[in-house]
Amino acid sequence: MNDKKKVIVPIGPYHPLLEEPEFFALYCDGEKVVDVEWQAGYNHRAIEKLSEGKHWDQVTFLVERICGICSTSHPFAYCNSVEDLLDITVPEKARYIRCIIGEMERIHSHLLWVGLAGHFLGYNTVFMWAWKYRESILEMFEMITGNRNHYAMFKIGGVRRNIEDEDIPALRKVLKDIRAKLEMLTHAVLDDPVLGARLKGVGVLTKGHIKDFGAVGPVARASGVDIDIRRDDPYAAYPAVEWKVIKTENGDVFDKAVVRLLECMESVRIIEQSLDAIEGSKGDIENQVREMPVGEGIGRHEAPRGECFHYVRSDGSNSPVRHKIRAPSYTNIPTFKASCVGQMIADVAIILAGVDPCYCCTERVAVYDADKKNKKLFGFSRLVEMSREKTERMRKQV
């Protein structure tokens, strides 16, 4: 461990694009990856323990700060779990507002992914454009909730703020614009021969791998595993609106990209229908909770990256006795063991990115030369560079 420490940091694997530090060791034979090792904890913040010392209502703010990209998913799942414990329902309007916030987050998260994936492949234009479109969604968040991220919209029993009728026209306009942009992006990805050559057949995950590692979300759906918590375990207003689960069969990085882009279009549909439902409605937005019974509850939400799982247990006091959180990346990241092995080093950056590992987890990649035993290390930036060189080579061939 010690010599790893010494080598990793000087290379500066803190890549400009990725955030949370995470350590992966790739064991290589020549250009081929033989094994991958995952070391977590650089971002461990003791949230499960902190949650035991907070009031039930305060925990929503704490779980919001698990991740800045999915800052609705965790409160969503947490509120679902506490409502399961309490056995209460949420007013209709609040259910639609929850859906709107959840789906807006999905769009911004997937756009963020598309941008970063483009960056890894050397398409910086995609990065700039996708993030520019994303900005309009963040603006809407600011208008509705008062903050660009960490919206604090969720509350046990309902939502904290209303979506006012006067906000809806602006929201509709943004959705209309973003739909056109998404269509353009989807075609740009599907029709590009270089992207096809670069991404098809890379980092393939079979149904067996998905089952073994318990992978969820777009990663599973790209491999033909038909799971989506929004449909399977209906909650909020998802059963009341019309949408479909996107699924492809090949399991490579290309399919993952397709699933994500098409999912954004479905999200737009869900939001539009939800807006129709709440426009002009004067309903309540929360059910007051006065007392906490003894018991346990499980709540799930289909976050942009897959199923987000919360388990809470109450002894009737002010704070949870146990609060277990499972983010989707926790089961998605170990699939690297299956998807990276046997691949070229130059492809590793995009395979790691293909899982959308809560975008942070792919930070520290070190490459070991298995033959020489002495550790030859590349930073993540070097991997991205190699990935771009490969795209460049293929661009010339196509």
Partner: protein
């Protein structure tokens, strides 16, 4: 003003360092790069190595596992180097202050020059902070 500071001020190269954050501040830092905010017009570039950096943008609580690495990164930067603490966590520990994994806040680990509070600070706030920093360097 000495020559070093004069050179430093012309074009700040920033390096982004996360010590256990919720990555929201980090995303907002990246947002500064994109067309809406575009910090490159101030001559700022995000670089991939601390050895090229004039400014360290630090986010997160600094947890016990990465504290050595953060010190090491700071040692590797060319001096003079300005350290910016971005977000409530880096400034004070934020909501994670009481946890067992907390080693920070940042100013206990490395010297910090300016603080940009917020959870997360808006990109505008970061730009305003950097402008103040440029004035301070005069």
């Amino acid at each position: 003003m000495n020559l070093k500071m004069k050179a430093l001020k012309k074009s700040l190269w920033v390096y982004h360092l996360s010590g256990g954050s919720c990555n929201n501040c980090d995303i907002e830092i990246l947002d500064c790069l994109t067309p809406r905010y575009d910090i490159e017009r101030f001559g700022m570039v995000l670089v991939g190595s601390p050895r090229h950096a004039d400014v360290l943008l630090c986010t997160g609580i600094v947890n016990k596992k990465c504290v050595e690495r953060i010190k090491e990164v700071y040692d590797q930067t060319a001096k003079p180097c300005v350290v910016v603490a971005i977000g409530a966590c880096a400034c004070s520990g934020g909501i994670f202050r009481d946890g067992y994994q907390m080693a920070g806040p940042l100013n206990k680990i490395i010297p910090v020059d300016i603080y940009i509070p917020g959870c997360p600070p808006k990109p505008e706030a970061m730009l305003a902070g950097i402008v103040k920093l440029l004035e301070k360097l005069k």
